[in-house]
Symmetry: C2
Subunit: 473 residues, 2 copies
Amino acid sequence: MKRYERFAAEISNLIRTGILAPGERVPSVRQASKAHGISPSTVFQAYYLLENQGLISARPRSGYFVRDNASRILDEPHVALQQQAPSDVAVSELVFSVLGSLRDNDTVPFGSAFPSPELFPLARLATSMTRGLRQLSSHAVISDMTTGHPDLCRQIAQRYMVNGMQLPTEELVITNGAMEALNLGLQCVTQPGDLVAIEAPAFYATLQVLERLKLRAVEIPVHPRDGIDLEVLENRLETLPIKACWFMSHLQNPLGASLSDARKAQLYALLCRHQLPMLEDDVYAELYFDQRAEVSPPQPVKALDVEGLVMHCGSFSKCLAPGYRVGWISAGRHTREISRLKLMTTISPSLPAQVALADYLQNGGYDRHLRKLRLALETQQTAMLAAIDRYFPEDTRVTHPHGGYFLWCELPEHIDSLALFQQALAHGISLAPGPIFSATQGFKHCIRLSYGHPWDAASERAMQTLGELLKAA
Amino acid sequence: MKRYERFAAEISNLIRTGILAPGERVPSVRQASKAHGISPSTVFQAYYLLENQGLISARPRSGYFVRDNASRILDEPHVALQQQAPSDVAVSELVFSVLGSLRDNDTVPFGSAFPSPELFPLARLATSMTRGLRQLSSHAVISDMTTGHPDLCRQIAQRYMVNGMQLPTEELVITNGAMEALNLGLQCVTQPGDLVAIEAPAFYATLQVLERLKLRAVEIPVHPRDGIDLEVLENRLETLPIKACWFMSHLQNPLGASLSDARKAQLYALLCRHQLPMLEDDVYAELYFDQRAEVSPPQPVKALDVEGLVMHCGSFSKCLAPGYRVGWISAGRHTREISRLKLMTTISPSLPAQVALADYLQNGGYDRHLRKLRLALETQQTAMLAAIDRYFPEDTRVTHPHGGYFLWCELPEHIDSLALFQQALAHGISLAPGPIFSATQGFKHCIRLSYGHPWDAASERAMQTLGELLKAA
């Protein structure tokens, strides 16, 4: 145990035993450094860890405070370490049967892949649509097909720029959501039978795409806080002919893990050494929680990409305009081939949606909306963590992600999450069972819960019901 | 030569020699029947042939008249009869290089794949968009993803119904334009290496899709008036393990040919005998010219499809809303798999576009728009045929389609249409050279010309320039 970990354990013990109560201030960095004879940076490291564990939170210019839901320690899930042989993927049937049962409007949507539509500025987008269509030259409906609407490309490039990245507009391809971007990107660097490194657990659509393209999965474990295990990845790259990788470097679905800057650099060095193309699925980019002091928008691996190996995929579906189906790929050296693949399959994303988004990004107050959205999601996360604490069995472990809208719960080992999924559905509650996140259908006692919807009495009752189901199992 | 062909030849000779002048009435059916001692139905057959040749046209309740541009007979192109072995397709590079050079706004767009945007009710669609988005429940932006917007599905089903077809809404899948529909449909009934029967000449995107999916093409010749050669098809089905076919039964691109009802029935019987799935690409369905007396909207092969073998693909891109990228597939027995493939690739078409179209179809005056559009296209066809007559070499042969916006010209044999394409581009004129319509890059002396844009002095000059280039070649 390192020094900062030891110090963090001391503080967490104070919280666990109630000596430091919820809402109370933890010792300042200066105090703690003096009192314990450790450097301020060690204290910082410890507080950062405690923050990650959901025990304390920073308030700008006031220091760190014990969180309301910190009365019990909710440990983070274990890393799934079992190494698997590369495997064919055949998960689609299961995924579809799960997704099919999520469609009912009346269930409590803990299984949903999208935040509540109420969190999005749909009326303001409609205004942008009206304005955008009015200004659109009639020739644009044909001429913009190949390249994407130029105003939207410009707006996306500008957001990259604000985030410190200069990505050439010529390397942007607007797509029908990020899902098309990822499909096209993977298609252009693989052949059926090829090996692709993915995360374990992975977003189930990743598995479906691999299955559809007849690719084989090499699963790399993801640490619930630090992200993919780079040592395992390095080892796999040295021993297997992996042709591409598909990772979420930031707010990974389902774990919510993000790579630190140092680890991003390490990952990029691996890509370069092996000349490995990477699909960087960054659809949660805008959903980091920014209520803490040290915030700055995270940069993707793409920011390091001098060689054009990274295909960075983004989307407006999770943060602004679900249903509009507009995403993009900044495709580096694969841009030309991806444009062509797009022309051969869907030709172009819908122009009205592009026009509305371009106008909204320029005039609609996107950053104001994002701040509101992040705050709503963070509040909802706190509520869900507190409910897990209240209702779920003692030995439940759960992530404390710094953004997004998913929690990953590791339940007691005897729980069968597919059975729980069915029982919960019978009680009008949806959730996403662990096995749909794995090429080898592992994670049998895990579930993904969404806190993407405003918290209300029904959410609270549903969590209580889930807790009862778990305890009865 | 059959009796009606002989009689037609007599009449066309009268026109050719100027005895029957443009605008003059040809003998009535009763007169001709009496005078020549042939049955009225033989006269009808002959007049129908002459109409197809563009020499006469019917006026409701007044009989048949010599057309203005009929001063010279423009023969229809020959059928390309050479039988080819099944072939890999590798045409994409050529197609992209041709399409890439069509993007310039300032060229005369004879090579364009779309009619002029000025012919579409874009402002009225924008109104429908505003209304549709206002009425949309916020939950629809998520819940409608899988199935397509229900109002739009209903409207499409209603148009089928008006055309005498009862297609279950559950078999409709809304797609990102017909191109996605055709891609998904073909993907779900084939494996790489499979043989697929296609038309020769074929729409170049068909060739690109086959190339992308690594399918092999069996080219079936298309007669410029009667459509695909069913005898050749039958023969090929008996000797080759063909897994699917992709045909345009109506206003085939590029020839404009349509199958008669009898030939549709014959084709469907073949499909049933061989249990062959058919992609019916029917994107020009609404663009038939209806100025003649006997008009009724043509029915697709799908109308006969009791077995669910036909996947009927439609679109609004060519007749109402280019750039909106909304198409559909009525997928028969393959519906479930196609929905799933769509969920794995693009998830869903853009909802705003669907909402706008649903409102427009219900309230926007679609049929009025279509009547105007058809009349405009027919007028533009007459102008282009007349210009070919005036400027092109004597032995040019050309189609006289009953709809759509393409003419297929068979030029003198020594013409290299790819060279002509380059020369024309240098003069600011685009056109589509024959070889991009063939898996085996035949049709070297053929070109496709679009009359989809309003005819003006620039069009006329461009035709004159093309004529000069041809005569100088």
